[in-house]
Amino acid sequence: MPTIDLAHTSLRELNATLHRLKFDGNETHWRVLNPRGQHAVAVGIDAPILVEIEGHVGYYCAGMNQCATVVVHGNAGPGVAENMMSGQVHVKGDVSQAAGATGRGGLLVVDGNAAARCGISMKGIDIVVKGSVGHLSAFMAQAGCLVVLGDAGEALGDSIYEAHLYVGGTVKSLGADCVHKPLQDHHRAELARLLEAGGVKGEVDINRFRRYGSARRLYHFHIDNVGSY
């Protein structure tokens, strides 16, 4: 397993090395040591590899990720997995604000808490937060699912489009045009799939979750376009 120690290798060299990997290459499991809060660690990967980062990272870790699985054994700063396209990012600790921002696909799993604006403008990414999320989470969320096992802060889902929000704990307040919606069987199935993907299958009761989504009064929703989300 290749190991890159950021105490001796520059961040630019790490990212360039990961970018050079072929899609079907042989080196599929990488370890990164001593991130020491640096920004943009393991961004822009475009290969189905596993990258394990041993320690806390700074801004934008695993941003624009495509196909790779990036595991952070620590906390992540603002904008982790921002604009992720596919693959998976798993943070074992807490994440700062704007986790999964604008993500278009893939799965972000946070074992701890996420700060403000988690899933802001998400466009297809699925996010599972095992702790709580801060204020203005899922702001202008367009598509994808945000699952929060704990509580949500103020103004959840403000100006939301068609993302699905599931919260197991309390919601401090809902944002503009975000409303409580009934949890139907296909939502339960979706939630069960996401909880399994997040590694907590069977550990939480699906029936304690409440679903939130758009009241569709703020933006111009037309049923003919539902397939776009």
């Binding site: 020491r36 809060g37 320690g55 700063g77 603002p78 700062s96 604000q97 700060a115 403000a116 801060g134």
Partner: protein
Amino acid sequence: MCLRIDRRVKRCEAGDGKADTGASCMCGIVGLFLKDPRLEPELGMLVAGMLGTLCDRGPDSAGFAVYGRETPGAIKLTLRAPLGHDFDCLTEQLETAAGASLPRVVRDTHMVVTVPLAREAAIRATLVEVAPEVSVVGAGRRMEIFKEVGRPDLVASRFGLPDMTGTHAIGHTRMATESAVTTNGAHPFTTGPDQCLVHNGSLSNHNAVRRELARHGLAFQTENDSEVAAGYLTLKMREGLSLDRALQASLATLDGFYTFVVGTESGFGVLRDPIACKPAVMAETEKWVAFGTEYRALVDLPGIDAARVWEPEPATVYFRERQ
């Protein structure tokens, strides 16, 4: 270590970029509170390292407040003078006013002079009379404040921060966005005896608040928004609020985005605006509690790998003080 920055690219100018009215947009803040007295000889070195890491968040100026030993019955005045000022001559004049010899330490453009409490007013009056170009940047039983224009790592070494000892310290690296790069615009700003404030953010209503504070008799040296925040806390505490309550009250009055860290004789406090615009990280071990704008600032603290690391909640006042 300090990253070189191309300011034409990195500097975030507000509006039309005129350097005249206020705040600090990016900036870095650090705070370190030692629980283990055995670390006190290393306080300055640890804080210098933290400030150095945040050079790239604020390469324009830097400042810090260090809480060291007190002398019973005396107060320390930190004086700042223009480069090359004759501190020997000034000290003689102050000693004449005090009628006693005054212990002093000169560090670059600053001098910390320890004066008997009973003579403080007389010495301040003498200072105004004989050296109007010298300003008192801080006063307190334990607090010393140093701030200058320049790269933070260089500012820290000019003042000999790595050799300073104490129980706690706060510091600031400034990336000026709205008001000019001057020493007066550098943080910390004092808010009273043994108290000071550092700020990361930008207040949008500072002109209106400054006018209101001026009506209450407060004087301001700069057009800087952070000085207004310091003045607001000063006024509220003068009116009888505790620092904690004054910070809470500021949430309703100060509009904009900010993270404040305030130093007090016994510790430091942290407040983020309700929107939590500016980044903030705290960490704690059995030996210390630290604040940093980014986690990077904390990575060289002893035992950081085992520290509890968390993000302070918005609109919540955190205090860490010696009992």
